[in-house]
């Protein structure tokens, strides 16, 4: 082990990996130790963490600054309601189906949106989300503009027992968050991930090295779209009521998610996770203030962007060089050889 070699592992990442297992077990057992309100809050945190991680992959790694991810949150929610309510599909069976719909829709959207660059892409993605919202507002079978509730029969299909239903909602949220973060970490460690980082740092250089820029970005966009529809369905499985304005809200599913990612640290895996915890800590302490809380959130996001553009985790990493998720490569064995 004394020879010089390149590794991704650090002592911190190894420790985290070892601690991750008991932490996951503890979280899985939450229905037995947490109260109902806490369980609900934790579910919300897990789902926001997933949204933030996905947006971070898009904007922080693939350079696709979308302000229209609410299109897929709302799509997932509406397709979930349509499948369970109108087609009578079992809620759990609906989840993989709606991910397929999400993948199909995002693949179609990508063909159009990828013709646009930078600001045009951002606005185009938002207009697409508006098209989805206005279209679903026309579907009277799903409540039209005023929305619809999930009938008890559908919810009971999950389980007859209330405690069990709430536990399942939590396990789904936790599982989705683990799936999203796991997929993103594995993707970034893969060949595609290296290609993506190269594109982010210099698109021209990446292209001249033979990287297929369009296909790499397309893969990311479609994967993020499919996973975002899943998260959207789970969010509205928790809420049990849907309306076009709530499902396709740009503030709830994009603005706050962008704040989370930027406060935590764009372009890092740790950033969205930390940002989500800060976001909810702020919300739980200031929520009574209503609109003042949202004004404060906006101010914090602006302040972070202007004075600490790499976010909280960026500050930590610049200072101590820490990395919890083993992504970047470093040379090991230098000290042992006395270089």
């Amino acid at each position: 082990m004394n020879a010089l070699h390149v590794t991704r592992q650090t002592r911190l990442s190894l420790t985290t990996l070892i601690l991750l297992m008991p932490a996951l077990v503890l979280l899985t057992a939450a229905p037995w130790w947490a109260g109902r309100a806490d369980l609900r809050l934790m579910g919300e945190i897990a789902l926001y963490m997933s949204l933030a991680t996905l947006w971070n992959l898009l904007a922080g790694y693939a350079g696709l600054v979308s302000v229209g991810q609410q299109a897929y949150v709302g799509l997932g929610a509406y397709v979930f309601f349509a499948l369970t309510l109108l087609a009578g599909v079992h809620p759990l069976a609906a989840l993989p189906l709606l991910m397929l719909v999400g993948a199909g829709m995002s693949a179609t959207a990508a063909v159009l949106l990828f013709r646009l660059r930078g600001a045009y892409f951002a606005i185009g993605s938002w207009v697409l989300a508006e098209v989805f919202r206005l279209t679903f507002a026309q579907v009277s079978a799903l409540g039209g503009g005023s929305g619809i509730s999930l009938p008890p029969a559908v919810v009971r299909a999950l389980s007859d027992d209330r405690w069990m239903r709430e536990a399942m909602a939590w396990w789904l949220a936790l599982g989705a968050a683990a799936l999203v973060i796991g997929v993103v970490v594995l993707f970034l460690r893969s060949r595609n991930g290296v290609a993506l980082t190269a594109i982010r740092d210099n698109e021209l250089a990446a292209r001249s090295l033979g990287i297929d820029v369009w296909r790499t970005k397309f893969t990311v966009y479609v994967a993020v779209g499919a996973l975002t529809t899943l998260i959207g369905a789970l969010i509205f499985l928790q809420k049990l009521r849907i309306s076009p304005d709530a499902a396709f809200s740009v503030n709830d599913w994009t603005a706050f998610v962008i704040f989370i990612v930027v406060i935590g640290g764009l372009g890092t895996i740790e950033g969205p996770i930390i940002g989500t915890l800060v976001f909810f800590a702020l919300r739980q302490t200031l929520a009574d203030l209503g609109t003042i809380y949202l004004i404060a959130l906006g101010l914090v996001a602006i302040a972070v962007m202007l004075w600490a553009p790499r976010g909280l985790w960026g500050l930590v990493r610049d200072r101590w060089g820490l990395e919890i998720f083993p992504l970047s490569r470093r040379v090991a064995g230098l000290n042992e050889k006395g270089h």
């Binding site: 646009l116 930078g118 697409l128 962007m305």
Partner: protein
């Protein structure tokens, strides 16, 4: 006949959208700033005008004398103190900062004025109309359209005939060289934002006279404005007017087909144009 009427109303509505868009086109063209708060600034202008009319008993159109310079000053300060710090190659920092601004403005308005829709009362002129052949056109929409043409003409003149316009064009072409030639980039950008918000104030007052507004109404206006800019093509002010008219006509024709189809039709036309011409219909130059 119904269709001709819809098209005529759409053209006039396009004047209002061109006013939403003119300021955006200006700052987008000069400094590549995607201002997410633009729509909220339009709504903010309407609220400022409401406060001025209620406090001083002025007619909304007279209130413009106060609202326009007020918003221009606000724009200068906003750019100098906050937005200039976020400017650069990357579009994300200004996007995020203006997203923050948007949330702040919306919630500040919500706190100050509640969520109830408000309207500016312009009296008789709201319902006055003129007969033009078989068409009946409202005086107010005609006035708005005339204003839009005048504003775009004035901006175009300013852009190509004045020292300020030359500074704008120079900074838009090459920021670093413009700086070397003695232009103060921070000041030029702030002037652009001041001009943008002056037009925005006008748009906000016309919006408030035309329809009821509430604190959450900014995002729709932002999108209409951006659609008009992008349909017309970046850097082309007359193109922006054409973009506004295309969007307005798409909406009124859509509404004639089915009332729920109005806004959707506008978006679909926008996406269709983007699919065919990703740089808009009349782009001034290749980027």
């Amino acid at each position: 006949m119904e269709w001709i009427n819809a098209i005529a109303q759409g053209v006039l509505l396009g004047g209002l959208y061109a006013l939403f868009a003119a300021g955006l086109s200006l700052i987008f063209g000069i400094m590549r700033l995607v201002n997410i708060a633009h729509g909220d600034l339009i709504v903010l202008s309407a609220y400022v005008a409401l406060t001025v009319t209620l406090a001083l008993g002025l007619h909304p159109l007279l209130a413009l004398v106060l609202v326009v310079p007020g918003m221009a000053l606000f724009g200068y300060a906003l750019q100098r103190l906050i937005l200039n710090r976020a400017m650069g190659e990357d579009i994300l920092p200004p996007l995020l900062v203006t997203f923050g601004l948007s949330v702040i403005i919306q919630n500040a308005l919500l706190t100050g004025y509640s969520a109830d829709p408000q309207k500016l009362d312009a009296g008789w002129i709201e319902t006055a109309s003129v007969q033009a052949g078989p068409l009946v056109l409202g005086v107010m929409p005609l006035l708005v359209f005339a204003c839009a043409v005048a504003v775009i003409g004035a901006l175009q003149w300013m852009f190509y005939r004045t020292a300020l316009g030359r500074a704008f064009r120079a900074t838009s072409d090459r920021q670093d060289i413009a700086q070397l030639m003695g232009l103060n980039r921070a000041h030029v950008f702030a002037m652009a934002m001041a001009l943008c918000l002056a037009v925005t104030a006008l748009a906000g007052v016309f919006l408030g006279i035309r329809t009821a507004f509430d604190p959450a109404g900014g995002s729709a206006r932002l999108i209409y404005g951006f659609e008009a800019v992008i349909i017309g093509g970046l850097g082309n002010l007359w193109g922006t007017l054409a973009g506004g008219v295309i969007l307005g006509v798409a909406q009124t024709v859509g509404a004639t087909i089915h009332p729920g189809f109005q806004v959707l039709a506008g978006h679909l036309v926008f996406l269709a144009i983007l699919a065919v011409r990703p740089r808009g219909l009349f782009p001034r130059r290749e980027e």
